[in-house]
């Protein structure tokens, strides 16, 4: 079965209402910057696209193939660093740097795959963390190439031209919005195609029972490496995109264990091994952690009158809640793992299934 056929078949099976809704949402997303000029709203949307790309990418190896990599910062960082080094020190524009980043991430994924896929379960998790940590420490120490702990700051993004016409000069957030949206859509599309292709069935067979899959003639190292490579490509893209958008990278922001954990959480919270799980995860996580970061939560607490801004606790919350934005990740993951192990999507499905039965 060719992937494209599978795609058509699946969409033919969907109800017209769902298709209409999908088209409406898509149109809304493409027109969004025409109606909303607030840079902050655009920023939130861009972060949402970024998280979606990361979540979908991880989903291919973690969700469909069942190999829980907690070292995806390695590919994120590979993309980010390659793009930034080429742009800042070699004057190579980021759209080529992005491709170079994919190349580097692919090489890294093959190395990691050939080492780590000999291991299973918790040992694989540990090995993936170790490799990402080696990369982070190397980026810290190879000061000549990566500028070490000081990181790399963009001074200027070159203007994007086709022929002589200037397409964009990257001065507002709008070009980033569209780039993020398009990459996110491509990632979702690729995941969809993978899910419904022979490749996807192989991946899922490996997830369900490695040994059974192996005995049926599915080569474990080959297909695990393909899954990891696919995952690495999109994670690296998200890294390049992040780097150029934010304009600054250093080892703690693109290569740290936190990044790997966050990528996993997007998937877990939304629903692992599903197309829309990572999207939902990103939809939940991004606004929540941004609300904490920009102190909206503290202000909400003041509005409800639980404590005033001037009181001791009030000033304390105002000053510190913003730093602890990752707290929400922790609480969410504990709640999700304990009470809805299939993520929000799985939980909703279960609820509706129960209602359907009566």
């Amino acid at each position: 079965m060719k992937p494209t056929f599978a795609l058509i078949r699946t969409s033919a099976g969907t109800s017209p209402v769902a298709i209409a809704l999908g088209v409406a949402i898509l149109a809304g997303l493409f027109l969004f910057p025409n109606f909303v000029q607030s840079p902050y709203a655009l920023h939130i949307m861009i972060l949402f696209f970024l998280s979606t790309i990361q979540g979908e990418a991880w989903n291919i190896i973690g969700g469909y193939t069942g190999q829980y990599s907690v070292g995806h910062a390695a590919y994120f960082g590979a993309g980010a660093y390659t793009t930034m080094i080429l742009m800042q020190y070699k004057q190579i524009p980021p759209w080529y740097g992005m491709l170079a980043g994919i190349g580097v991430a692919l090489v890294v994924s093959l190395i990691i795959g050939s080492i780590c896929f000999r291991l299973r379960g918790p040992y694989f998790v540990l090995a993936s963390i170790a490799v990402a940590e080696i990369m982070r420490l190397s980026a810290m120490n190879l000061k000549d190439i990566t500028n070490g702990a000081e990181g790399i700051l963009i001074t200027e993004i070159p203007v994007f031209k086709i022929g002589e016409t200037i397409v964009t000069d990257f001065l507002s957030k709008v070009p980033f919005y569209y780039i993020g949206l398009v990459i996110a859509l491509i990632t979702i599309l690729v995941t969809w195609m993978v899910q419904n292709s022979k490749l996807g069935y192989y991946f899922q067979a490996i997830r369900e029972d490695q040994d059974a899959a192996h005995s049926l003639g599915i080569s474990l190292p080959i297909y695990k490496n393909i899954a990891l490579a696919l995952s690495a490509i999109f994670t690296s893209l998200s890294g390049s995109f992040y780097a150029v958008y934010i304009g600054f990278i250093d080892p703690p922001t693109v290569l740290a264990l936190d990044i790997s954990v966050q990528i996993v959480l997007i998937c877990i919270i939304g629903g692992i091994g599903t197309i829309w799980g990572p999207v939902i995860g990103a939809m939940v996580l991004v606004p929540l952690s941004e609300a904490l970061r920009s102190n909206l939560i503290a202000q909400m607490i003041f509005k409800t009158g639980l404590t005033s801004e001037e009181s001791g606790i009030g000033t304390f919350l105002k000053e510190n809640l913003a730093h602890a934005h990752a707290l929400i990740y922790g609480i969410l993951v504990v709640v999700v793992i304990l009470f809805m192990p299939d993520g929000i999507l799985g939980w909703v499905k279960k609820l509706t299934a129960k209602k359907g039965r009566g």
Partner: protein, 288 residues
């Protein structure tokens, strides 16, 4: 030669503390088959506990372990009973994620309370050292090593000679058989997690005079704890002791002969090599 000897000795001294961290992780893994990704964060909680006791009550960090150990034991037992216990028999990935989540909650709560500033617990002897045959030894490290050795010996005695200790080991060996022999395995799990946390907390207390204290320090120690236990063999207590010392020495020797920036890389490369070529570890039975 003196340099080599010097780095060997300071490696062994810090290795003692690493051993405590590793033993804690390995006991938890042995009894519950759960890899505790919050181990370093538990250690961090122990550090802050020591810091509070020192700054508010003026209790010396090495004395305050008398308070820290029981408190950290209760903390671990509470975590086990409330969260980890519900995951017994769940997918290993989900167990790992749960402990990652708990770790995030711990570190971020501490950040909320104490901010992310680096705290220094400076005692009168923090930077003191003494000379033995031309080799200078840091006093706080030497004291902490002695305490570590005493605790480790006590633990060995507890696990080998007491009934409860043997019950813990039996549960680690074969949970079902232990249950059939009338051992309350649920209680053993709580006990194991309590002991593991107490050991991590103690390690945190012991290093607090020599390390910076900040909420994110846990991650480094979680990773080190894995390296130590995998090196020694998951679930093997002797292995973890040995692994701790080996990692301590590897770190301090590579810090001297390569560079201090690369010493952690050496440790992780060592870790990958062990995973690839001797995945059962030095002392472990093959259980892959």
């Amino acid at each position: 030669m003196t340099v080599l000897l010097q780095s060997l000795i300071s490696g062994i001294l810090i290795g003692g503390v690493y051993a405590l961290i590793g033993i804690g992780l390995t006991i938890i893994f042995g009894v519950m088959r759960v890899i505790n990704f919050a181990h370093g964060d538990i250690l961090m909680v122990g550090m802050y506990m020591t810091y509070i006791l020192f700054t508010s009550l003026g209790i010396d960090p090495f004395v305050s372990i008398v308070i820290t150990i029981p408190l950290m034991f209760l903390f671990g037992a509470f975590l086990q009973k409330l969260f980890i216990n519900r995951m017994q028999g769940a997918l290993p990935q989900n167990q790992i994620l749960l402990t990652i989540g708990l770790g995030l909650i711990m570190s971020n709560t501490m950040m909320l309370i104490f901010t992310s500033d680096y705290k220094i617990l400076s005692t009168s002897y923090s930077s003191e050292s003494f000379n033995v045959a031309g080799i200078s030894i840091s006093s706080p490290l030497a004291i902490s090593f002695l305490i570590t050795a005493a605790i480790t010996l006590l633990l060995y005695w507890f696990l080998l000679k007491t009934d409860t200790g043997q019950a813990i080991r039996a549960t680690a060996q074969d949970r079902e058989a232990a249950q059939l022999m009338g051992i309350n395995v649920r209680w053993m799990s709580i006990l194991a997690f309590g002991i593991g946390s107490a050991l991590a907390g103690t390690a945190g207390a012991l290093i607090s005079p020599t390390y910076y204290i900040f909420p994110q320090i846990g991650g480094i120690f979680t990773l080190k704890a894995f390296v130590i236990t995998v090196l020694g063999g998951m679930g093997s207590i002797v292995g973890a002791t040995l692994g701790g010392v080996i990692i301590g020495v590897a770190e301090s020797v590579s810090a001297v002969y390569i560079s201090s920036g690369w010493k952690d890389v050496v440790v992780f490369v060592l870790f990958l090599l062990v995973l690839l070529f001797k995945p059962a570890g030095l002392m472990g039975k093959s259980r892959m």
